[in-house]
Amino acid sequence: MNAISIANLTKRYGTTLAVDDVSFEIAEGSVCGLLGPNGAGKSTTMRCLLGLIRRTSGQLAIGGKPIVAETFESVAYVPDSNALYCWMTIAQHIEVTRRSYRNFDRLRLNELIAMFALDPRKKVGALSKGQQTAVALALAFSINPRVLVLDEPSSGLDPIFQRVVLDLIIDASSNGATVLFSSHQIGQVERAADRVVIMRSGKTIVDGEIDRLKSDEKIVEAIFPSDAFSTAHFDADARIRRVERTGRTLRLFVRSDAEAVARDVETLAPRAVQIVDLGLEDIFLGAVGADAITQGVS
């Protein structure tokens, strides 16, 4: 059964179309990475899914049912910016969580608080952005949720705690939880997610299992003795989706028959030729275009 179902979701702010007919489903126990440049509609999609903002049209379901208050007994959400009360201590936030959720797990919370090296006596307003994110994550994971929606969960965290967050996501998934998380760090998504949805300008442009997307294409990579080599005859080759040339390096994104393409490249007398798997970054850049780099996507 699908833990999360989004069908034909559209969200319009006046004349601005923030989310345009987005549809995807996430199976139970799956980890789905939501990627896209800034303003692609990732956060809006998540917030519509949780009912935090009203959708213009479309159907949304968690656990096969429309979202109602009771749904949140087993759903945790960490927004991209701090929504905790700055004037309250971490301990007081823990008390709010304990009173709000039947599934609250004190032992689990204590583990998480220790893992993130947090002092429960401190006020949230006195914490760094990364620590505030850590508090939100600790509270989210302390209810043993079946569905986790995390909007840039490692934002502001140092590399060590970023790794901790990824481990938490993978651990939750191995225990049957479903995770939808967005990130600007493609490497994180590649490591934790088994599925990816890439959005651009409010639309879904890629949706699928990462392994399958990677196997759909291969990269034929060649290094030449100098940068004076011609690629003209590859431009019209139907087997090749994209030609990328950087100095002495040639990268051909091949849809089919990579070995035959590699043999063709060898006729140009390169120093070395190899066939490599597509990375998620290649898939992402191929989908959103190179201009995404200029929009701050790593």
Binding site: R54, E70, E73, A83, L84, V96, S100, Y101
Partner: protein, 274 residues
Amino acid sequence: MEYVEFLRVRRMCSIFASCVAVIAIFAIATMIYSSIGTTGTGESVGVTIGDATDMKHHKLTSYLQTQSIPLGLLLGFAGYVAIVVATVFASSLNKENDGLDYVFVKPIRREIIAMRYAATDAVGILAMFAFTIVAELVSLAIAHLFGRIVIDAHAFWVGALGLGVAFMWYGILQAVTATYRGRGGTIVAFSWGFFILLASAGYFTFLGPLFLGLVHVLNFVNPIAYFSQLIDHGGDYKANSVLGLGLEARVLVVWAIALVGTTIAANVWKRVEA
């Protein structure tokens, strides 16, 4: 989620209780000072300061010695304190609007969250109303004036009106501020000036009957208009009221508006987008 509001209410009640306690100490000191001058048990401080002070001193002394203290007066003052407390608590839903990503993902229906907030605020308002009455009674007992308290005929209606006005103001402000972001405190502060001006506007006879008619209608949603002329000086509450309503009618109307305002607030707040 009401735990968050409980923390807010607890903090504000401590501040208000401290203020009421300071006022009570000041009142006790004033009453004891007055009694010293008249009983002759000590030197009259008032006399040593000068004639004007002496005159005021004897006026107060004379009042305290001869006049009874109507319970309605004490309840009315407690009502004023409750109003101040209520207006401070009245933007509790508005305060949540910057953190709805946290509030609206709790497994509790939004209108239930809103009503629990209102219930927590109500407990705070009632607690401060009760605390003020206790402070008044203790102050009078310390000043040996407890025996002068008389239960006037309308005392309990006055108490009900005082509390009702507090809750009416609370309900109106909740309804008005529930959907705004970050402007709740400003609207609360503005409401004091607006309602006082509106209640006073009924006396601006030079502005003509049309204006006065409009003011009269608007005053039906003005908490201050309901809280005028509370002390029974002639028994005619209706004639002395800005609205021309009797005491019992005013009590019913303010509690009804309080209920409607709070219900509207809960219903509009649940539709706010995070």
